[in-house]
């Protein structure tokens, strides 16, 4: 593998991990808002128990992505920085409000409801805006004026393609997070919460699939080069759709004692589904970072810098890995945590 392929694969990997973690994170915030008034079911508590320890870790990934882009592809920084100024700033503003009020809502008990509403709603918009960056890289919305690239905001806002991406991100967020929370509540033996989240996942799954199809349809008109690239990887797309139906099967399957569904398997298969689909998308997008002006080769950093970076990646993740495992064991596997009635903040 050439250096530049390693670099773009690492970047792709970060984006994929962030996409999954962030949809769960923002989705959990949304569900904790939706079920805040259903005090008996514990659905809100389950969402909060997932969210409280993880959001900081998730947030680091967004920084990691930005750093990976500028450090591997400094040649793309100027264009990306300039055209993303507006959407990027809007995302940052929402993110600031969301994170701040999320923390505040755990501390100021009496004002929990309004604070949760603010963080829930802002958080739910963020994935939709983040994903808008993808159609921007498809090339139709950038124009060179006075020697400077400018984003055509009006065109972007009236593009079907962009809006289907937005819709896809929002429905994916709700779908993935309800599925994960279904698994998390099942793990915690919270049957009522499990039923609620399983039901939500079953409703949102088909909606998400429809949105994904709409993305493909609009792509065919607005980004033909990408559509054709994706069609060359049709087997991946078909396998991805297959994984989706398999997940549906795992959720519906009776497992005895009046229980239904095998959420852990469904989660794994769905992550696999997203992996296959994003692989096809990523491959089709190559070699362009931004179509048609910047390819990965033009933007790539110098070999010395790449080597130094690559070493720090290996050393860094080798050191961090045990930390991640420990974290996982304390919060995702330990039933004592999942079952706690209230978070620590409330107790003390």
């Amino acid at each position: 593998m050439s250096d530049v392929i390693i670099a773009i694969s690492l970047l792709w990997g970060f984006i994929f991990i962030y996409a999954v973690m962030a949809t769960m994170d923002f989705g959990a915030g949304f569900w904790s808002m939706v079920y805040i008034n259903k005090e008996k079911t514990n659905a809100t508590n389950i969402a909060n128990r997932y969210l409280s320890p993880t959001w900081e870790v998730t947030n680091v990934f967004i920084v990691a992505i930005v750093v990976a882009v500028i450090s591997f592809f400094p040649g793309a920084t100027f264009t990306l920085g300039t055209v993303l100024l507006l959407p990027g700033s809007v995302i940052l503003l929402l993110l600031a409000v969301r994170s701040g009020f999320l923390v505040f809502s755990h501390i100021a008990e009496e004002y929990r409801k309004p604070l949760t509403y603010i963080s829930g709603i802002t958080g739910f918009l963020i994935p939709g805006l983040l994903i808008i960056i993808l159609p921007v890289t498809h090339g139709n919305f950038i124009e060179v004026r006075d020697g400077v690239e400018q984003l055509l905001v009006g065109e972007l806002l009236t593009s079907f393609h962009a809006w289907t991406f937005f819709g896809f991100a929002v429905s994916s967020t709700l779908f993935l997070s309800s599925l994960l929370l279904a698994d998390f509540s099942n793990h915690a033996d919270e049957q009522e919460a499990y039923h609620i989240y399983r039901r939500d996942a079953l409703i949102l799954g088909p909606i998400t699939l429809t949105m994904a199809l709409l993305v493909m349809v609009t792509m065919r008109y607005e980004a033909v080069w990408l559509y054709e690239g994706m069609m060359e990887h049709l087997p991946f797309l078909l396998a991805s759709a297959g994984a989706f139906f398999l997940a549906g099967f795992f959720l519906l399957m009776p497992t005895g004692q009046g229980k239904r569904g095998w959420p852990r398997l469904a989660v794994i298969v769905i992550v696999l589904q997203y992996l296959l689909a994003s692989y096809a998308y990523g491959r089709a997008h190559l070699p362009y970072l931004i179509y048609p002006s910047i390819t990965i080769e033009d933007g790539f950093t110098n070999p010395e810098a790449f080597r130094a970076l690559f070493i720090t990646y290996i050393v860094g993740f080798a050191i961090l890995f045990p930390g991640f495992i420990y974290f996982w064991r304390l919060f995702m596997k330990d039933k004592r945590y999942a079952k706690q009635q209230k978070s620590n903040y409330d107790k003390k």
């Binding site: 870790v57 947030n59 400094p74 940052l92 004002y111 810098a305």
Partner: protein, 442 residues
């Protein structure tokens, strides 16, 4: 304001906001760690209560530190794409390593807060140490980018192209250790004094002077000790920072001191305002020979004045005031903590006099102000360069044009978050007063 000025003001505002939370994010974990260690050593439960309460406060502050830092990081690429192109190619290592520091901090912070009751005390201390290390490492690494802007190394420009890149030479640029050291010790100092401020304030308000009063007294003494020690280190290290300027950015030092003529036996001007017309610092107290000594430990050192440099390279002259304010606060706080200790240890007085108590209350806000002054001095004093003598700020700025509205929106969000943080902290600590925490523990 023109395009460049808006971009500068916007980035400066973001940084001025982030730095408050970032500094406390470095300083407070150290205080929590000291409290935990003192608890293990003395078995005095008050220290456990302190650790617990400070962690709560810290968790709230992190809720703003993290998003504002994320804004800072992304805005750096959005507003200064020309600069980040160079950074991406030459100076990516600190950013990259910083990510690991963030991960360490975020992982172990969650563990310390949400799993405290399921892990051993030993593991709690390890987690806390890692949180403190992660925070200080992120400060050191990001400061390195700032150091690189002042003392660039590890690359050259040839016909506008970046050549001869040596990422490690860039990483260990000449300003790195001194600058990072100054930022770290000043953040620890601020952490100490902010705790001392709060404790002193509570002691003044407490009428009964009983159990709760003694609790706050312990916090005050701990805060003063940490603040005092680190303010001394800050001053020593600040002296080195000034020498660094003398060697690498002489026009910045000249502007900081309002020195126009190059001279040996140069005097140090304290206070006053630099006057462009008369080329002197008006209403200043002059200490003969002191600037030469400051610059290179000898009275006959030749210090270069502004007139040696073309005027378009001059930093704005008001940096003199910012520099003086920072040094003034540093000196004042050293004196304050020495007096406090003298009073407590040698005169063996149980109570501090009222004016001294109010001076303690002021110490935290003053340190934060010194941080702000120091940074604005360091960043504005570098103008017109974004990378000293390599790249002008105007060549780094974004070409996108909607900055004005965004500036207003960001400022608004900082106000909202800033106000909310104060309200939430007040709310929480009102709801959970110290006496309850002490009673539960006993």
């Amino acid at each position: 304001m023109d395009h460049l000025e808006i971009a500068r003001s916007m980035f400066g505002t973001t940084m001025a906001f982030h730095i408050i939370f970032a500094t406390l994010g470095v300083g407070i974990p150290l205080m929590v760690l000291f409290a935990e260690l003192l608890y293990q050593k003395t078995n005095d439960r008050d220290y456990a209560v302190m650790a617990n309460r400070w962690t709560k406060g810290f968790a709230v502050l992190l809720g703003v530190a993290i998003p504002s830092g994320t804004i800072a990081g992304v805005q750096l690429s959005l507003l200064w794409p020309g600069f980040m192109e160079v950074i991406g190619e030459v100076m990516a290592l600190p950013f990259q390593i910083e990510i690991y520091a963030f991960f360490v901090e975020a992982l172990f912070m969650s563990i310390y807060v949400y799993a405290a009751d399921r892990i051993s005390p030993w593991m709690r201390i390890v987690s806390l140490t890692l949180v403190a290390l992660g925070a200080v490492a992120s400060a050191i690494l990001i400061t390195n980018v700032h150091a690189f802007e002042g003392t660039p190394a590890g690359f050259r420009f040839e016909n506008g192209e970046i050549v001869d890149v040596d990422p490690w030479a860039a990483f260990f640029n000449p300003g790195f250790f001194t600058t990072a050291g100054h930022v770290v010790v000043s953040a620890y100092m601020t952490g100490g004094f902010v705790i001392a401020s709060i404790a002193a304030f509570k002691m003044i308000k407490d009428r009964e002077k009983g159990r709760v009063f003694r609790f706050h007294k312990k916090a005050l003494m701990l805060g003063l000790a940490v603040g005092g020690i680190f303010s001394l280190l800050t001053a020593f290290n600040g002296h080195q920072s000034a020498q660094l300027l003398h060697e690498y950015q002489p026009e910045k030092l000249a502007a900081a001191e309002g020195l126009f003529e190059t001279q040996d036996y140069a005097p140090l001007a304290i206070g006053g305002f630099t006057d462009r017309e008369t080329e002197e610092v008006k209403w200043a107290i002059e200490i003969p020979w002191a600037l030469s000594f400051l610059a290179d430990d000898r009275f006959d050192t030749v210090v270069r004045g502004l007139n040696d440099f073309p005027e378009e390279w001059w930093p704005p002259l008001y940096v003199h005031t910012l520099f003086n304010a920072m040094v003034g606060i540093g000196t004042l706080l050293i004196l304050l903590s020495i007096t406090g200790f003298f009073w407590n240890r040698f005169l063996k007085k149980k109570r501090f006099p009222k004016p001294m108590m109010w001076a303690f209350v002021a110490s935290g806000p003053l340190s934060v102000l010194a941080i702000e002054f120091g940074w604005i001095f360091a960043c504005t004093g570098r103008q017109p360069w974004v990378i000293y003598r390599m790249m002008k700020t105007e060549d780094a700025v974004t070409g996108a044009s909607q900055l004005g509205t965004l500036f207003v929106l960001f400022t608004l969000v900082y106000f909202v978050l800033g106000a909310a943080v104060v309200l939430v902290l007040r709310y929480y600590f009102r709801k959970h007063p110290v006496h309850e925490a002490i009673d539960i523990k006993e």
